[in-house]
Amino acid sequence: MGFRTQAEEDALETMSLDEYLIENKEATFMMRASGDSMRGEGIFRGDLLIVDRSRSPHDGNIVIAVHDGAFRMARFDSRIGGAGPVRADLAVGSELSIEAVVTAVIRKLV
């Protein structure tokens, strides 16, 4: 076996999507948006979401909250309702707990 050519070397420098999308492997899960509530944030029905349970949410982050026994997307805003996430149609102060931060959206275009 000879030495690798430059083209072969370059080909090895491929980017792994897992590496790009995942920071903490143990805490990362995939979910699917089943509604258009976050259309304004560029998340559409059917999009795949990468969510990380180990991240602390910052203002403006899209988070996964649990509301009425179901996962809901919400925009995190620390000014409203203490640490609770808010969304127009979710009452603040109802039992909301933040499960994860949405770190990426995957959408196929074709």
């Binding site: 492997k25 143990e26 948006a33 089943s34 026994g69």
Partner: protein, 422 residues
């Protein structure tokens, strides 16, 4: 110092992590088998026990949520739980799907203080619990002690969500309130012989002299006596897989199929995978069961007892072919197949049959060792059993999807799918 970790109501907890509507509710898994295979603590407190029939639970406890077991999810959560422990030590022994031992002897915080205290280890143990709770959404109970038997006794003493640090000074107190029958590894028959000798608690046993124990008991109980007295006999990692009760391998296929040959090749691939895992753990199966699952989630299952314990896929595939012929109904469309190897025994201890049929088996064992090495080196499916070929060819064309992925997604991503979100 050795830590024992035990996932609290593990299967039911994983189900609740995936589906928030199950949280805080009585949950039972095992819908597909028609019997309870695991219960949440709420279900246990109703009096539901393992193997209780689903129809009976429905009738007597209509408030209970009964769900189908999701072994893929349990395997992912299990692996991640153990990987979180590995952030703190390399010496981790996966004892079963929801239990592990970890050796922290090389970590300075785990060395006992001058007075024997182990409190300096507490922050790390709390961090492990916190990481698992936050990242996986499940709780675990931990025990820390100088031996495996003591660590397991400690973790069991406070559940769920317990953290029990057991310095030598506290051992007597704990053993005194531990009935001998609930010490790890002591079955009901042994409990009776202990009782006859006047031993009711773990402490009664630990206080006997070494000579007395040697006189009345065999190797297993002698080792236990040493471990209860703080002398480590079995180091972490040395008994890997000992408690493994079964090895299961299942996959769903997309698109669903009613092609008999293809479905059998899927089953064959699962058998190969399960045998590979058994060889890796040095185990042989005395019994196995296979199932095929229809599009409508109906299970058709049958099992067979083998003449000889084996880890040889040829033998199991040949037996499975007979079962499959009876299970397969061409009028149905199928979504998955699977195999469970059970009644596992150490490969070294398997019995030979009277007429030496095990001889052929043994030389094939050597061949499979070589196959495992080649597959490890060049990729998992380099060498495989011919009957698995169609399943593997399909996989190479990229048609297979993990059951964790939502329908329509065909790529192999290493991120498990946990559900829809509004």
């Amino acid at each position: 110092m050795i830590m024992h970790l035990d996932g609290d109501s593990f299967f039911a907890s994983v189900e609740a992590a995936k589906d928030p509507s199950l949280r805080g509710k009585p949950v039972v898994t095992g819908f597909e088998r028609g019997i309870a295979t695991a219960m949440s603590k709420e279900a246990k407190s109703l009096g539901i026990t393992r193997a209780m029939p689903v129809f009976r639970i429905r009738k007597e406890f209509p408030q209970v949520r009964i769900v189908e077991s999701d072994y893929d999810a349990y395997a992912v959560f299990s692996r991640r739980m153990f990987d979180i422990v590995r952030r703190y030590t390399d010496v981790v022994e996966e004892y079963s799907i929801d239990e592990c031992f970890a050796d922290f002897s090389d970590i300075p915080e785990f060395a006992p203080a001058a007075d024997g205290s182990l409190e300096s280890a507490r922050p790390i143990l709390e961090k492990i619990k916190k990481d698992i709770a936050r990242e996986l959404g499940i709780s675990v109970s931990l025990g820390l002690a100088s031996t495996r038997v003591l660590a397991k006794t400690a973790s069991k003493s406070q559940k769920p969500n317990g953290l029990t640090i057991l310095p030598m000074a506290d051992v007597e107190k704990l053993l005194d309130r531990t009935p001998i029958g609930s010490v790890w590894g002591i079955g009901s028959a042994t409990t009776i012989s202990f009782r006859k000798l006047g031993i009711n608690t773990a402490l009664d046993f630990a206080r006997k002299s070494a000579d007395w124990v040697r006189e009345h008991f065999s190797k297993l109980q002698i080792e236990m006596w040493y471990e209860l007295n703080g002398t480590s006999i079995n180091r972490v990692g040395e008994h890997a897989g000992q408690a493994q009760k079964s090895i299961m391998k299942t996959r769903s296929f997309h698109p669903h199929s009613s092609d008999e040959g293809y479905i059998f090749s899927e089953l064959s691939k699962n058998i190969e995978g399960a045998c590979h895992r058994a060889r890796g753990m040095g185990l042989c199966a005395r019994e196995f069961s296979v199932f095929i699952k229809t599009k409508e989630f109906w299970y058709k299952r049958d099992s067979v007892r083998l003449q000889l314990a084996t880890d040889d896929p040829f033998i199991i595939i040949a037996e499975a072919k007979k079962l499959f012929g009876k299970l397969f109904d061409p009028g149905h469309v199928y979504r998955a197949s699977g195999v469970t190897l059970c009644n596992l025994v150490p490969a070294s201890g398997r019995q030979e049959d009277l007429f030496g049929a095990a001889g052929a088996d043994r030389s094939r064992g050597e061949a499979f060792k070589a196959v495992d090495q080649l597959n490890k080196k060049y990729g998992r499916d380099l060498i495989h059993v011919a009957s698995s070929l169609r399943a593997i060819q399909k996989e190479e064309r990229g048609e297979k999807s993990l059951s964790f992925l939502p329908p329509g997604v065909r790529r192999r991503l290493s991120v498990p799918f946990i559900g829809d979100v509004l």
